[in-house]
Symmetry: C2
Amino acid sequence: MSKKYRVGVVGATGVVGQEIIKILEARKFPVQLLRCFASERSLGQTVEFNGQRIDVEVLSQETLTDLDFALFSAGSSISKEYCPIAAERGIVCIDNTSHFRMEEGIPLVVPEVNKDALKNHNNIIANPNCSTAQMMVVLKPILDAVGIKRVVVSTYQSVSGAGSSAIKELEDQSRANLSGQELAPKAFSAPIAFNVIPQIDVFLDNGYTKEEIKMINETKKILGSDDIKVTATTVRVPVFVSHSEAINIETQQYLSADDARKLLANTPGVKVVDDPEKLKYPTPRDAAGKDDVLVGRIRQDVSIDNGIELWCVGDNLRKGAALNAVQIAEALIA
Amino acid sequence: MSKKYRVGVVGATGVVGQEIIKILEARKFPVQLLRCFASERSLGQTVEFNGQRIDVEVLSQETLTDLDFALFSAGSSISKEYCPIAAERGIVCIDNTSHFRMEEGIPLVVPEVNKDALKNHNNIIANPNCSTAQMMVVLKPILDAVGIKRVVVSTYQSVSGAGSSAIKELEDQSRANLSGQELAPKAFSAPIAFNVIPQIDVFLDNGYTKEEIKMINETKKILGSDDIKVTATTVRVPVFVSHSEAINIETQQYLSADDARKLLANTPGVKVVDDPEKLKYPTPRDAAGKDDVLVGRIRQDVSIDNGIELWCVGDNLRKGAALNAVQIAEALIA
């Protein structure tokens, strides 16, 4: 009989936590015992897993024990406090928050891209930002084939990346607007219904947002190269699930659009949806609920000699968060 | 008494035509007589102008006479057929469609940017594509100050750019979705409610869409330079009015973000809305109904030595179409 593991999900009642539990079940991760942690607010709730109802436990130093894995997605402050405690107890922590991502010695991993980084961990492994993760599986084969000089990315990110209150805000505000009413924003700093907001996460001194700098720094760490230049504009759009990205890639050597298409078609975790004649290209709705990152609109950049333009769409709750976290756990036990 | 003009609006019942009539009135264009042309479908409709009800006339060779100006926004095939006839009759045609834009000898004009091009016209003047027009007022001062090498732009375009059926589709589809229903797309080739569509206009052989190539070619013509390299990804978003653009500008010489901000603050037709500390940046809702193109998120590109990232938002029915057309007429009579 193959080994089974005791898995804890921290933030089990949140949007990503719920997705982690679904994915553990769907991918038949060898779970001996699943424990679901949340804050006191969620006490009394239950979570369904493999047909069983599991009581939510309140996260504390006392409860966070007797686990092989803990998958964290309850916010940076929770990870900051509890990952080191769990790691000390021999629990392998896979952290969805940004807290440890750029820390030296902490692997930041997209398994299809840099699984090797898992070799050296001290029980804490960071899961990349949602918008970074989906870009990595697309950039990696191009980097390996022809090298990458510079990336200019603009994102179209769904509200589910901001949690369940943001999902509700888009729904309620849209409904209000369609009845001629306004509903003041709470989850966002501007209305999101029938609008777009060029801000995700807080602003930094250089005028970029933290989300943009995450994409820039995490890309370099995951691809293992400080030479790749990256700039990003991250934008929230009124979409429920899936992030889209217009990615402009200046390559070191020439790569034709056809070759880029072939390269990506042979990349695990990527599905090419690119047939302009039949008006086939990926949209957020197409990617929602899917594991693969969808790529289309692949074309040679007319503004430079060596450049590729493309459009990639991924389910931000899956590849951008829960799926990638579970894939990290899978890679560790493989 | 100053001169007054006989003005015809072709496509007077459409989204842009209606906006032209509102703007002629609001800006007190010296109209002696306004005539409203449309197809037979609109016969019997009336249009309000300066408190008067004006009957819609059916456009034909017989009716399109006795005018000083004709402002066309009834589709390329109508402009192709009727602009030359009107021009031959001495009527100055300002055409909102793409038909004549790239034709040699036809001025393509954004008055704040290249008013001089109006000096040589043969009674046909082209109005740029909506997404191009708003980008021009932003690029021009930067071009003049430090030169521009390359522009990478990603757009977030509202449905009103696709006409009134598209506006209705977003509304109806959103309403359906919020009640758990689906409504098949007609105006677009994919659902637009709670989705984004990386296609505007038809696909060309090189994988770009016609909208993207319009932005590329029109930019060079308006700015009067083939040396400026441009690439674009144009995307439809579920917003009713105003197009947004994430513009990455590689400049010839260094320009600080502060200097870019000052430069743009002194540019006619531009309003800088850029105070990250107070979470101030432009969104489509802020620009709707306004004449100015709003610019924010101005920052130095961290990926190159000489680069500026910014975010610009304009009312696509105004600066992107109707307002610019009326401004061309104003420049001609000045």
